[in-house]
Symmetry: C2
Subunit: 335 residues, 2 copies
DNA sequence: CTGTTAGCGCCTTCAA
DNA sequence: TTGAAGGCGCTAACAG
């Protein structure tokens, strides 16, 4: 059984291929009677229009390119879940690009994306820098292909539509909560690699500490457990620093820190209060359960897809920065 | 700047479009000199062939459809990482389909896949049943599109190429290890939903227990923490059953069980030895660290993509069941 | 080694 | 309301 073409359908239904095309794309322009006849034949033959021919003729692909840094990060995967659910509503298909591969030139990849004829681009990359941002913007303008950034912030410009939460505010808020609980020696555990969103959390933390007239303590480490465990242990060996409060930019870093502290005989939350960021499964599976900022990551994905759809439909989205609401969940590490 | 076409390139390079097409697809058939001239123009114009026109004319898409049940499961995401890395080697692009959506008819989706002109299909779904398997097989035969199952086992047939580990053996092995450690009251924690791979782990467990002349104890629960915690507590309330060994079909279920036991005052590993399955990040982040079967999930993805590529190139893969090697990692929960 | 010429399967005016 | 006809951008014989 080979694929049926529009021609087969037309023949069997006793109409021209133009009519078949119309019943599929502009049903209102076809008389009800013939329309039904055509649809019946389409069903019988299991006909589905060839996506290439359709794309070539209509110059639209009904597909969007999804660009992510690394699928194995829980937040990325969850965002993709949100995107797929929303995309399905519009019958859009997704072409996946993963940036993880080091020897993959991003500019090359973007060329591929354009060549793929995607109608829009969803871009996720919390390490985004000026060069990348500019490149995206150029592509959007040159090729008239709409782009939406999902959970990806470039705060120095606002040409591209962006969906995220207010990371600065979140960082500020949880630092304040630690201060309200009487904590003074509060540390920020962040990544050594430069992530825009983490910089914002850091800025919020710094603001709250400054306002309280307290010294800031920032530890730049890795997301890798074996690496950050060493760093956390060094914290004490070197200076015998006192720590009674911590905010970590990722749940998994918070959990790793908690484990290290417990191994050193510290009591959580009595000796040290800890907040994480994201509310991943790690937060519920660790002991004590992790208090954290709840980032509505699935909604971010869905909202980004929704805005992209609007832009693909030609409605320019005026609101460039779209900030979703976040919660703070209090669990065992801050009781 | 609008997209350059092959015609623009031909004109500027002073050749026919056929020559441009050749320098791209069959460079050896073009004289070095003209080839270089054409390539120069291609570079100047930033020309990339339109994927639709190319696909339509050549009847190949250089893309594969990737079908997954739910992106947010750590093992699925990691497999996708493996697939993308391998696909990139061959310059194949990936079209992503997520089955999670309940009101998405799988047969409809497969029709879409065929219409998308994907050259091959990578299918991941550990809940696969007879109906689905048959449907896939029909599609492979009717449309001549190769299909490879990744970490997806349908043990009752072997028409489709499959990549996975020997889950039966793994289940048998870790049960044996628990027995070797002198454990007698060994429980299997598995999913209530019917997953083929979990059935195999269960069969391995049952075999080992039978051989040892011991009674089997199987708890069917959910992957959801809030649900399984209740189940685990009931285990004791109801019958005061003794438990001294556990194998869980997923790391996250094992971790949830460990937490519940510790909350009830049990000592791990002294009172109860625990093994998980997969070696996800959860295994390293929980305390005590979880012993588990190390499933080479990234390799499974990569190998599946590699075999699919072979099939797409017309080389039929004789070896239908491709079993990758697994390890067992001993950590704190079985010391 | 290179150019000419048909399509690939569909959409979309333009006429009827 | 329907049909005819010309392309969309590219590949792949077939000539030369």
């Amino acid at each position: 059984m080979n694929k049926a073409t529009i021609y087969n359908v037309a023949l069997k239904a006793g109409v021209s291929l133009a009519t078949v095309s119309r019943t599929l794309n502009n049903p209102e322009k076809v008389k009800l009677e013939t329309r039904e006849r055509v649809l019946k034949v389409i069903d019988e033959l299991g006909y589905k229009p060839n996506a290439f021919a359709k794309g070539l003729a209509s110059r639209k692909s009904t597909s969007v390119a999804v660009i992510v840094p690394d699928m194995s990060r829980a937040s990325i995967a969850e965002m993709v879940n949100g995107i797929t659910a929303e995309a399905r509503k519009y019958q859009y298909s997704l072409i996946l690009y993963v940036l993880k591969d080091e020897n993959l030139e991003e500019s090359e990849m973007l060329k591929e994306v354009v060549a793929s004829q995607a109608d829009g681009i969803l871009y996720m990359n919390d390490e985004i820098n000026e060069e990348q941002y500019t490149m995206l913007n150029t592509i959007q303008e040159d090729y008239k292909v709409p782009i939406v950034l999902a959970n990806t912030l470039y705060p120095y410009d606002n040409k591209l539509v962006t969906v995220c939460i207010d990371y600065f505010k979140a960082g500020y808020e949880i630092t304040k909560r630690l201060l309200d609980k009487g904590r003074k020696n509060i540390f920020l555990l962040t990544t050594a690699r430069k992530y825009m969103v983490n910089d914002l959390k850091e800025a919020g933390y710094i603001k709250a500490m400054k306002e309280a007239g307290l010294e800031t303590n920032i530890v730049r480490t890795s997301g890798d457990i074996s690496v950050n465990t060493v760093h956390f242990n060094e914290l004490f060996r070197d200076s015998g620093k006192k720590i009674d409060g911590v905010l970590a930019v990722r749940d998994s870093i918070a959990v790793s820190f908690i484990n290290t502290m417990i191994d050193r005989g510290k009591k959580i939350p009595k000796d040290i209060n800890v907040y994480g960021f994201q509310n991943t499964k790690y937060a519920s599976l660790c002991r004590p359960k992790l208090s954290c900022v709840d980032v509505p990551i699935l909604d971010i994905g869905a909202k980004a897809m929704k805005l992209l759809k609007q832009e693909m439909d030609g409605e320019t989205v005026e609101q460039k920065f779209n900030v979703l609401h976040h919660d703070i969940i209090e669990r065992g590490t801050t009781k």
